[in-house]
């Protein structure tokens, strides 16, 4: 269970081209007066891995259930490969779904679970057995076919669920927090395996999670949701490095938020007044609102010598915590609490509390954003 055992490759005997565009147009879901999903526009390109990321209650699972056909949307249209599926029942949507707790049929063996979709499609016995065995082989469980789900570990159950969702060559794969029940190490391993499998098959994936690390590690594109709306969407690096609001910045990892007033905006760059921390040059992506702040990730804040010019200030150390690979320093500067994270190997062991220090950041690592809260 330590090595990566899922081998990637085209689905045997199909040689199908990457398909599976999912499109949501102005899709809403109302439960009485409660708006769970609010006029959502979302497109998953063929072969793309899109993650819906948000806290619980943000509407991400409801969105996925509407795509799968388990929930009916109140308004809007859902299209799969260009065809409206609004009136199709789940069984005719041809989507592979992996549920949070896998939902394997407890009274069937692993192989029978995988065979199920082929049985429903009236595939002859010999062929479906062979295809199910191939699917189990692909997830590294070739020898476990005879076992019942309760005789399999969490990771193995998850692989069976994957094989079951893939065996009938679905148009796309929908994954609903599939790794929530696994421990950290297994989760990281499964992340890599699912990603490898997805790339190898060229299948589109709509993935739902509340875990920002998982979203960062797996996605081609992250769609951050809050209160049934899309807050920001883009490649993981872009959403992480260039959050549009303070909420997105804090939801995707730790950050230092320093309230500021804008002095000058010119295209990609802005000059801001950070109050007690002086003037600074920062990245600007055109976010507009009433109040602004600058976000600097803890790993982008660096200790400086006094001589370095721009985007820096004097600070004093409050505490240092060793987290293993990294060390987290808490600092105060100009009346603000700041966090600085550096590799343990780079860590400056000699610094003591109350000693005057200088910290700074590169202009392209500081992001101007809108303060929502």
């Amino acid at each position: 269970m330590t090595a990566s055992v899922i081998s990637a490759g085209p689905i045997p005997g199909t040689g199908r081209a990457a398909q599976g565009a999912i499109e949501l147009r102005q899709v809403s879901k109302h439960y009485g007066d409660v708006v769970a999903v609010d006029e959502l526009d979302l497109t998953v390109q063929p072969g793309e891995f899109v993650t819906l990321l948000g806290p619980s209650g943000s509407g991400k699972t409801t969105t996925m259930m509407m795509v799968a056909g388990f929930e009916e949307h109140t308004a809007g249209a859902i299209l799969i490969d260009g065809k409206p599926v609004d009136t199709l029942p789940p069984r005719d949507r041809n989507l592979g779904v992996v549920f949070q707790n896998y939902a394997l049929f407890p009274h069937m063996s692993a192989l029978e679970n995988v065979e199920f979709a082929l049985r429903m499609r009236k595939v002859p016995r010999a062929e479906r057995r062979q295809r199910a065995e191939e699917a189990l082989d692909r997830v590294g469980l070739g020898k476990m076919g005879g076992r019942k789900p309760r005789q399999l570990s969490g990771g193995q159950q998850q692989r069976v669920a994957l094989a079951r969702a893939l065996v009938f060559n679905p148009a796309a794969l929908l994954l609903d927090e599939p790794m929530a029940a696994l421990d950290k190490r297994l989760r990281e391993q499964m992340q890599e395996e699912i990603k490898t499998l997805q790339k190898g098959l060229g299948i589109s994936v709509l993935f739902v999670t509340h875990d920002q690390d998982e979203a960062m590690a797996m996605s081609d594109r992250i769609v951050v949701m809050r209160d049934g709306k899309i807050v920001q969407s883009g490649p993981p690096e872009e959403v992480y490095n260039h959050p549009m609001t303070d909420w997105v910045a804090s939801f995707l990892g730790d950050t230092n938020l320093i309230p500021c007033t804008i002095v000058e905006r010119n295209g990609e760059e802005a000059v801001v007044d950070l109050g007690g921390l002086g003037m600074a040059k920062v990245r600007d992506r055109g976010a507009s609102g009433e109040n602004y702040a600058v976000s600097v990730r803890p790993e982008h804040l660096k200790f400086r010598t006094r001589a370095t010019a721009g985007n820096g200030c004097a600070a004093s150390l409050v505490s240092s915590t060793n987290l293993g690979a990294t060390v987290r320093h808490r600092l105060t500067a100009g009346g603000h609490d700041l966090q600085l994270r550096e590799l343990s190997s780079d860590s400056v062991a000699r610094i003591r509390p109350d000693e005057e220090l200088w910290v700074g950041w590169d202009a392209d690592k500081a992001q101007l954003l809108v303060l929502e809260s």
């Binding site: 799968a68 069984r91 939902a103 049929f105 429903m120 499609r121 969490g154 969702a165």
Partner: protein, 180 residues
């Protein structure tokens, strides 16, 4: 909650329906318009046994993970296939124990059967009861012995089954026992 109310009212309702059936049997016997006696008796026994079957089936349905139904649907199963491949196998133990309950309640029921008996056919407890009253022979002892031994053998089989199941669970790999 609603199910519980429904179940307990089913127990109560049974009495009302029974009274009606008995009455129709008694009155109808004179008027020659009653349904055939074996039919009334069947309905009467079903009325008594239904709440037991309902309760055990409901308990096993409550334990069914709704995601199982959804995953069957996403894999291409229509309503009938979901019933056959998901619901039935999972509630089967509940159905079987309900059937056993129904059987034992039905065979145990003397008073109602006595009211509804007809000359052509009678039930075992009724026959035993009338024989004790009017026709005491060793047959009564034999049938009692048979009933007791069937019950005892049934009980022993169940104990054996549970013991076997427990030991097979114990032999599962470590990963599984850690989970449970």
């Amino acid at each position: 909650m609603r199910g519980k109310i429904l179940a307990s009212s089913a127990f109560g309702l049974g009495g009302v329906v029974l009274a009606g059936l008995t009455l129709s049997g008694v009155v109808g016997a004179g008027a020659q318009v009653a349904p055939p006696p074996s039919f009334s008796r069947g309905v009467a026994h079903a009325v008594i046994a239904t709440p037991y079957v309902y309760l055990t089936t409901r308990a096993s349905l409550a334990g069914l993970n709704p995601a199982l139904v959804r995953s069957a649907q996403s894999l291409g199963a229509g309503p009938l296939s979901v019933l056959r491949h998901v619901y039935l196998p999972i509630i089967l133990p509940g159905l079987i124990s309900g059937a056993l309950f129904a059987f034992s309640v039905s065979i145990d029921e003397t008073v109602m059967s006595l009211f509804m008996q007809s000359p052509g056919a009678t039930t075992l407890p009724v026959k035993m009861f009338t024989d004790i009253q009017f026709n005491l022979t060793p047959k009564i002892a034999v049938s009692s012995a048979l009933l007791v031994s069937v019950a005892t053998i049934g009980l022993l089989l169940q104990v054996l089954f549970v013991l076997k199941r427990r030991s097979s669970t114990r032999m599962l790999p470590l990963a599984v026992s850690a989970q449970t």
